[in-house]
């Protein structure tokens, strides 16, 4: 799995990606940013004022030179300098204000984006997680939202102020000398040309670099994961060779990409210098032959230095902006996905049963559970699950289950046996509606599961999954995940039931032992015991055990068998197991092959049938 270390892998994200539907994404993004309307208005005002200060401050230089410094008017000089100081202080103030507000707005926006994205992910159906890698989804948080925040933090306001300054400076230039502006225009045109040519080239090289770095990183990942095998097979030299080829290819393309990207700055800067030189000459001639005053020339030259800055800055930021919009697009793509369908209106409630069999709803666990219909009538939950001619496929066209019919009577233990891909896990996935079936019906105590509210449905089913996942937190926290308000006694009782109590007590901090990294410090078997305890504390009426004991060796399994039996007592239980010993005492065993139930019956029936189960049991068949 490519998660975990997927974070921050690869080169710094380069902005060479184009959003597909810019208008829509920007509109979406504006809805988020727009929540701070009034603050943004302040930002806009500050931006205009700040640009005005920048342009105006330089313009004051003309009067300073012509009227105060050259004639030596110190009173005017003092006044003008004071005014200038005022303008610049105001400018700094405005700049600080809009920056500070933008920090707030950007953090608020990314906070809202993260919250909505996470909340959305909680509602998405499992099929979504099947088709997206963890690394891909993580990068919505680590890359995409980060890029958006970054551009809002610095780039956006600066870009706008850059444009404003640019417009102001151009206006001033035109005012000072339209003739000199022709020279400037020429150079600005040249800059645009350079931006476009270099930009095109470096985009091309960057695409190649991305490909090569993907190849290097992929190779590193696969080989380092298999490093022990490399050692055992003396394959080191070969591995080095394969690495060398990819490393060199990446070096070449990265050198080209970085060379062009790095050329942008000096090229732009020096065109601006050429502009400066030409303006200087032209200005000198104008001054000699057409009487351009010295102050205007000096100020114009200051403006020449200023005018290219926004162009360079914007040409650099444009890629970041595009990357941010592309990132936002990916985030909104997820936000716009439909969540799990849930039109059920039947809910799960605790009930108390009177002597006559009448049911009354109650707060805490009474005598059991009941389904509460929308009209308020209560039906006792018994755990009767039936599949009628269920057809299902994960991907359209690739049918996994072909018309499965089965029934589990209350309190029965039903087992599924079959090869990987036969559809065992799929069946349990359908009972709790992780996926939607294409045709047929699944009923629960006679109620179509689609009519049951999803949360209620899942609360009624306890699941111990094939892969155990634990959360960062204490062992007690992890067991309590099954019932958030469980008391310490309940937690310990559940652990004892699962036979996990003994190993937990052996840990230095017992139930308060802090687990990180998916419980990495525990053995696979111990983690599975915790998962069983977690299901036990939830105390659900129906239990699904999907390979729950696969990582526990046969001796340990014998030890927890009692606990499991206690856990299963009085409940409807669906068991999926590789190890036939676990399913032997099931009431009904279903042998699945290629999405169909090919044999059913109890152990003795099936052995007597002498079919597939018999072959599996006697070791003539391979379960894969």
């Amino acid at each position: 799995m490519a998660n975990g270390r997927g974070m921050g892998r690869g080169p710094n994200r380069h902005g060479y990606q184009k959003p597909k539907n810019m208008g829509k994404t920007v509109a979406n993004l504006m809805r988020y940013i727009g929540r701070s309307k009034w603050l943004l208005l302040v930002v806009a005002v500050c931006l205009v004022l700040y640009s005005a200060c920048t342009v105006g401050g330089s313009f004051l230089l003309k009067t300073l030179v012509n009227d105060a410094i050259v004639p030596g008017d110190y009173v005017l000089l003092a006044k003008l300098l004071a005014l200038m100081a005022l303008i610049y202080v105001a400018g700094a103030g405005f700049s600080f204000t809009y920056s500070r507000i933008m920090v707030h707005v950007s953090q608020k926006t990314s906070f809202a984006l993260r919250r909505d994205l996470f909340a959305k992910m909680q509602t998405l159906p499992l099929s979504f997680f099947d088709t997206h890698t963890h690394g891909e989804l993580m990068s919505r948080y680590t890359n995409d939202i980060e890029t958006i925040t970054e551009i809002m933090n610095n780039g956006l306001a600066n870009m706008i102020s850059g444009i404003l300054t640019f417009v102001g400076v151009v206006a001033m230039m035109l005012y000072l000398s339209p003739v000199l502006f022709l020279v400037t225009l020429l150079c600005l045109g040249l800059m645009l040309l350079v931006v476009m040519t270099i930009g095109k080239r470096s985009r091309m090289f960057f695409a190649r670099q991305q490909q090569d770095i993907g190849a290097v990183n992929g190779y590193i990942e696969e080989m380092i994961e298999g490093q022990k095998v490399i050692k055992v097979f003396n394959h080191e030299a070969k591995a080095k060779e394969g690495f060398g080829v990819r490393n060199e290819a990446y070096r070449r393309s990265a050198t080209a990409a970085q060379s062009f990207a790095g050329s942008m700055m000096p090229a732009m800067g020096n065109i601006s210098h050429i502009n400066y030189a030409l303006t200087c000459c032209a200005g000198a001639f104008l001054s000699i032959y057409m009487g351009l005053d010295l102050g205007s020339l000096v100020v114009y030259l200051q403006y020449v230095r200023q005018v290219s800055q926004p162009v360079t800055m914007i040409s650099q930021q444009v890629n970041n902006l595009l990357a941010a919009i592309a990132g936002a697009e990916r985030v909104f793509d997820i936000l716009e996905l439909p969540g799990e369908v849930d039109q059920g209106d039947v809910t799960l409630v605790h009930v108390r049963q009177s002597a006559g069999g009448g049911l009354t709803e109650c707060e805490s666990r009474g005598d059991g559970w009941a389904w509460k219909m929308p009209d308020g009538t209560l039906t006792l939950l018994r755990g009767d699950v039936r599949f009628n001619d269920v057809v299902f496929s994960y991907v359209p066209g690739k049918e996994i289950l072909h018309g499965i019919s089965l029934y589990a009577k209350p309190g029965q233990k039903i087992a599924f046996v079959g090869s990987t891909g036969a559809g065992k896990t799929t069946i349990t996935n359908l009972i709790n509606r992780f996926y939607e079936i294409q045709s047929g019906t699944i009923t629960y105590d006679g109620i179509d599961v689609r009519r049951i509210e999803k949360d209620s449905l899942r609360r009624s089913l306890g699941i111990v999954l094939q892969d155990t996942h634990l959360f960062t937190g204490t062992i007690a926290d992890n067991i309590r995940y099954g019932k958030l308000d469980a008391t310490d006694e309940e937690v310990v009782a559940a652990a004892k039931l699962a036979n996990a109590d003994a190993f937990i007590r052996h840990l230095p901090k017992g139930y308060d032992t802090f687990l990180t990294d998916d419980g990495g410090s525990l053995s696979q078997g111990e983690r599975q015991l915790l998962a069983i305890a977690r299901a036990a504390v939830a105390d659900p009426p129906v239990l699904i055990l999907d390979e729950a004991t696969s990582s526990i060796d046969t001796r340990t399994e014998k030890l927890i068998e009692k606990g499991m039996d206690r856990l299963m007592a009085g409940r409807t239980v669906f068991v999926i197991a590789h190890r036939l010993s676990t399913v032997r005492n099931a009431k009904a065993i279903m042998v699945l092959e290629l999405g169909e139930i090919i044999e059913r019956g109890d152990h003795d029936d099936l052995i007597a049938q002498g079919g597939k189960y018999y072959q599996l049991y006697t070791g003539q068949m391979e379960l894969s």
């Binding site: 700049s95 993580m138 030299a237 080095k240 060398g244 070096r251 020096n270 400066y276 000699i288």
Partner: protein, 578 residues
Amino acid sequence: MIRKLWPYTAGYRKWILLGALCSGAEAVFELILPLMMATIVDEYIPLGDTSGILRHGLLMVLLALVSMALGVCAAFFSARAGQCFGANLRDAQYSRIQDYAFRNIEKFSTASLITRLTTDCNTMQMTLMMSLRLLVRAPVMLVSALVLAIGISLQLSRVFLVALPLLAVSIFLILSTVAPKFRLLQERTDDLNLTVQENLNAVRVVKSFVREDFENQKFEGRNLALRGISETAFGRVIFAMPTMMLITYGTIIAVMWYGAPMVQSGALEVALLTTFFTYITQVLMSLMMVSMMLMMLTRSVACGKRIIEVLEEKPDITDEGADPSARVADGSIDFDHVWFKYNTASEAWNLEDVDLHIQSGQTVGIIGATGSAKSTLVQLIPRLYEATRGAVRVGGRPVGDYTMEHLRDSCAMVLQKNTLFSGTVRENLLWGNEAATDEEIWAACRAACADEFIHRLPGGLDMDLGQGGVNVSGGQKQRLCIARAILKKPKVLILDDSTSAVDTATDARIRAAFRTQLPHTTKIIIAQRIISVMDADLIVVMDDGRISDMGTHDELMARSEIYRDVYQSQQEGANIDG
């Protein structure tokens, strides 16, 4: 650190030097331009010297062109230097890792090694490249601008005595309050990412227990914390720009005030005065740039340290003391009172006083509960770990006598957690013996009972396995791994629980094939299932790091309680763990 990493620039130093030179020269050229402008305005305009203006103007354009060329060269050279450095670091690390023993790999963990090879190396190459471009340019700019300013007027340059320290102190104050906030910011980001990561991993658990709201609340807390620290951190960073602006413009105003009388007295020309402004901006800007770069460098230092750790790690096991001509004579194996622990600092032993003697060609089964050190024991044979006390001998000589390459070719091992690599079936099998002919490959596959299903695969030996061998089932994968090991024609073949996903019938056929096709090879089989080792010449029962008992099946049934226990637990449930 620079001293330690410098060797990895070998072969590319001229690019570093050229890059730095070009960057520096570009900065100087850029600064001369304003000075020439001043000459035009102050000297030629009053004289009306048009040819002088043209000459000077042309020279300025020329200088700008040279500066551009230098700048572009600097970009090319620094890109080359940076990427070469990165490539060298990756290569050096990768090669080093190839020398690592298992213990070294475990010390770093796979994930951490991958990060060091990818992200850290990329940061380092970026750092060198950016340093060449900016970290050279900025100080050169600072000094040259300062020198030129002093050249214009020593008297006015005294403003720098106030401005520079003022800016330096302000930047220092800002950065030093920001740095700890950013560290916190990183921690909060990690917290948040961890929550997302765990939710992705455990999405089924969350949904099954209907804990969506609970997770949302948990996330909300992390999200709020991240937002808070972000606002604080970035809210402080933005002080830098306005501070810089205020100091710059304050300095310019001061210079105008003090410069005006000098212009009056004819000691200073007007354009030189405005040129002075340009230099003020450059000096202060450069100072700011240098400090920002230095802050960024702290991150690179952390990456550099991590890379050095990998490079300096001493391989736990080396060929030192090995006799290159030593050859494994036969498949006999001796453990002479071997003691072993993974962690030398821990008190508990992982293997205690193991004394075991295996004759060449024997089949030995090893049985024991999870954690009883079965794998540990066999990993000492091909010297994947080294015994802490006692001696391990293969073919009558201590394992340290042979080169690792020869020893591991002679003692083939199929690891419990085995891996196939992307590529075809054939490419994977050839790992065992690169020169193997198709006949040899098929022979090995027959011995591992893999031939039948390979025939059935689309493309047969040439089918692409996909990364990690995703295109074959667990049992098929294990048989391919066994065939790969057999291709080595080893003296000793070790299977560490390598048939767990293979059904009992096929398992039995593999063992029968071993007997007929590899009669002289010593076979050591670790298994969960008694049936897999029942017919072995010798069965070793491991319990908590010790040999609890050994003997044949019948002997052990008669006297070993553990063995009987395991046997019975498996009998009841039929022996199909498949």
